[in-house]
């Protein structure tokens, strides 16, 4: 088989293998369904509850994308500021780190007091969880610009705006796209946590109701749906990354990866 075919099939085979292992482990150790259902039972629940899962899944997706959009806009602007102005870096970074260390699940009750139960706390939670990696990566991209590259423009009498547009932004794009892949998955985490704690719709809310009914297979079905949506969004941003920053990859097949907090 060709190498590229192998690489295309590899993730499907591993996933299938993992599910098979899960299936046989549950069967072999006679685990009760309300403790850990088999993947077949979970997938069966996806089919049985396909309409509620779709409605709540789309609600979660919408909430996540809204929070993510705020995170990208805000993160990009703050990242450029922190990365290109020394004073902004010195004064803002400790606050950002401190803020990111706060467990976001603990903040959600406060958001509920402020905004009430529903979509608002979930959007904000998605935003809070995902803006940090964008800020860190974009500012890293800006802060690590080789001074010689800037000198090339400076000796031509370029303005600060020229340097940001011609060098800063293109130079930071690989960092930016790497952060988007992390941020979108973190956005899902934020949304689902908020929906569990204080939602009135969405996948998280569905899970809460299902688990209070001891319908554990449905809980797992919901988790699978979130997982699949996360992988799907990741794939979209990975494709965008390849499209816009192919110069930084050079055919190794691996882009820049920078971990973010959560």
């Amino acid at each position: 088989m060709k190498r590229s075919t192998v690489e295309k099939l590899a993730p499907w085979i591993t996933t299938l293998g993992l599910f098979t292992l899960w299936q046989f482990a549950v069967m072999a150790f006679h685990v009760e369904t309300f403790v850990l259902p088999t993947p077949i039972e979970a997938i069966e629940q996806i089919y049985v509850n396909r309409y509620p899962l779709m409605v709540h899944g789309l609600a979660t997706l919408g909430t996540t994308l809204l929070g993510f959009a705020f995170a990208v806009t805000f993160g990009l602007m703050l990242g450029i500021l922190v990365g290109s102005v020394r004073l902004a870096y010195v004064s803002l970074y400790p606050i950002l780190i401190g803020f990111n260390s706060v467990p976001k699940a603990a903040v959600i009750p406060i958001l509920v007091i402020w905004f009430g139960v529903g979509t608002a706390p979930a959007v904000i939670a998605a935003f809070l969880l995902s803006f940090f990696p964008v800020v860190v990566n974009v500012s890293t991209g800006f802060a690590t610009i080789e001074p010689e590259l800037l000198d090339v423009l400076r000796v031509l009498g370029a303005t600060r705006k020229d340097m940001i547009v011609k060098i800063g932004i293109p130079r930071s794009l690989p960092f930016f796209f790497a952060s988007l892949k992390i941020a979108i998955t973190l956005s899902f985490v934020g949304t689902v946590i908020a929906e569990i704690i204080a939602g009135n719709n969405g996948i998280g809310n569905l899970m809460l109701i299902a688990s209070s009914n001891f319908n554990v297979p449905l809980v797992f079905a919901a988790l699978l749906v979130v997982g699949v949506m996360g992988v799907g969004m990741y794939a979209i941003f990975a494709a965008l990354e390849t499209r816009f920053t192919s110069w930084s990859v050079r055919g190794s097949g691996l882009g820049v990866e920078h971990a973010g907090g959560g």
Partner: protein, 267 residues
Amino acid sequence: MAFIEIAGVDLRYGGQPGVDDGTGTTLALANASLTVERNEFVSIVGPSGCGKSTMLKLISGLVRATCGGVRIAGEEIRKPLKTVGMAFQNSTLLPWRNVRDNVLLPLEIVEPYRSQPKSEMATKRKRADDLLATVGLGDFGDRMPWQLSGGMQQRAQLCRALIHEPAILLLDEPFGALDAFTREELWGVLQNLWLRSRCTVILVTHELREAVYLSDIVHVISARPGRVIASSPVPFARPRTLDMTFETDFVDLVHACRHHISVGNAA
């Protein structure tokens, strides 16, 4: 009056103008003076860390003198000039642009090219391709920088430094990271470019043969704090050839420069 005039310049890193000695600052240049005539090709050689590159940064306006003055065509330099082209030791081609777009970069910054309408783009591209062809990169405009060898990247960098027809070309060890054969080949490329454009060139290098091969005058700078300790005019007619670099006159001149450097180091 000389075209470029550096007169009695001190340059101190890490300190403010007027601060006394012994404050943890480095004196890179001390009472350095240098004059360059219009359309002259000048080399600056010296031991490493002597402030050669600092001299270029002074002329380009990237750094300001702690005391003393730098004048170009009678004007005091206060900020980066627009009439300068610069090339560095390491490739500073932008990795996200292909070679042609890299060469075109100065035209996006410098007037009058900057405000020209988009319809001029085809003319500009043609101009970049023609310039690339003169350094043997005619077919490489669409390649990305990482697809080029080190020598080819430096050729492209020279093109970028010259595309806007600057009055002054500043070269900071442009061939320093190349192997000996590629380097000698590029001496010829640079000589041809200069014979065509006849701009004022200041080349910083630690390769004495390169300095003598290319220049009208070789200035030797002392160890830190740097100042000019000797200036040797190079009398050989152009175009010069690599064979000339092995002739007695040429070798004697190289030896004389080397002698100045070792004397300057010992002092």
